[in-house]
């Protein structure tokens, strides 16, 4: 990310990192998590679960910031995120190479 000046707490802010976990066979393919993930981590998969629904899958590995929005909005208790310990300092999520808006998620539409 380009800063016009370096924030004073540049070295201290840690962007959280998370890992999405999906309970595949509980999903009913509603699509809420895919639509409202602020980091576009998920997409509907082409495969089916046991009930015939398309569950989501992680398509942007490493982008999850553990905001837990998917966990809150899923009506089927089929997805949640867990915090990963290595949130990195310097306003950059570790592993984000494409310079996307890594520091702080954009205003979440569903706040």
């Amino acid at each position: 990310m380009k800063y016009w000046r370096k924030p004073l707490d540049f070295g201290q802010v840690k962007v959280p990192r998370g890992q999405v976990r999906i309970v595949v066979d509980r999903c009913k393919g509603c699509g809420f998590c895919v639509e409202y993930c602020p980091k576009d981590v998920l997409a509907m998969s082409k495969g089916f679960n046991r009930k015939g629904y398309h569950p989501p899958e992680v398509v942007r590995e490493g982008e999850c910031v553990n905001c837990e929005l998917c966990e809150m909005i899923c009506p089927d208790f089929a997805i949640y995120s867990v915090a990963l310990e290595d949130g990195s300092a310097g306003g950059q999520a570790a592993g984000a190479t494409d310079g996307a808006e890594a520091a702080g998620a954009p205003a979440c539409p569903a706040q």
Partner: protein, 301 residues
Amino acid sequence: MSTVTDARVEDTIPEDEHPIAPFLRMDRIPHIWCPTCGIGTVVKCFASALQESGVDVNKVSIVSGIGCTGRVAGYMKLDAFHSTHGRAIPFATGLKLGRPELLVTVFSGDGDLAGIGGNHFIHAARRRMDLLVVLVNNFIYGMTGGQNAPTTPLTARSSTMPYGNFEPPFNLPHLAASSGATYVARWTCLHIRRLTRSFKEAIGRRGFRFIEVIAPCSTLYARLNKLGTGFDLMRFYHDNSEIRHGAPTSEVDIDFQGRIICGKFVDQQKPTFLDLMHDHYGKMLGDKYVPMPPEGGWIHE
């Protein structure tokens, strides 16, 4: 176990690892609600609120009526009562008065609480009975196949109003506030964080607390009105809900596909039914007044 072919998911998640699994009857999950139904989201927010509020979960009771939202009691791992249609509120009143230390929640739908249960709703609000009432409003009678509800907006179609509804609907926050509710809020299923915060706030309050949650009903309301699925309704809430805390409740009616005013409309502290009862009997009877203890009226050896 997973049959998703090109997914990068963990295949063997133990089901009880979900953060709110302790609040759910995991032996009954997956639940019966339709894909894109919003009720599950409300349950998740409520369970999170309970978790974060730190209340003694053993003292929380939940009472549901009949209908889709009425099934909530069956999925939550609390002392849960699935009572008769419309009678969740008086049933909950009995629970609260029989054992005053309980935290009693009523979780039911618009048809159950505002239709057949309308009378009980306004009287419990009037009395300021110490209940947290969560009304999930999907504008229709879902479980029975999509009939007109007291909240169905004008011109909306339903299975008993096939040419469109011509009956004016209730404005529920206004009804609750005018009847005497001391905490009145409305959110949609999309406002997950604000809804959770509202639940937490209401859990910490006393008296008749009323939270209306607008929820998408894909199979009936959306389909009969050609609005797509619940997913499309969520997008609609995104574009058409407006947060106005403290708005006068007379102004928060919902027209068909119109603006949905959300927010916390009423937040007052007033003596509850039990406060009033204790104060009054204390004054009138002095030390002859013997109140029922908080542990309730169970007589045992």
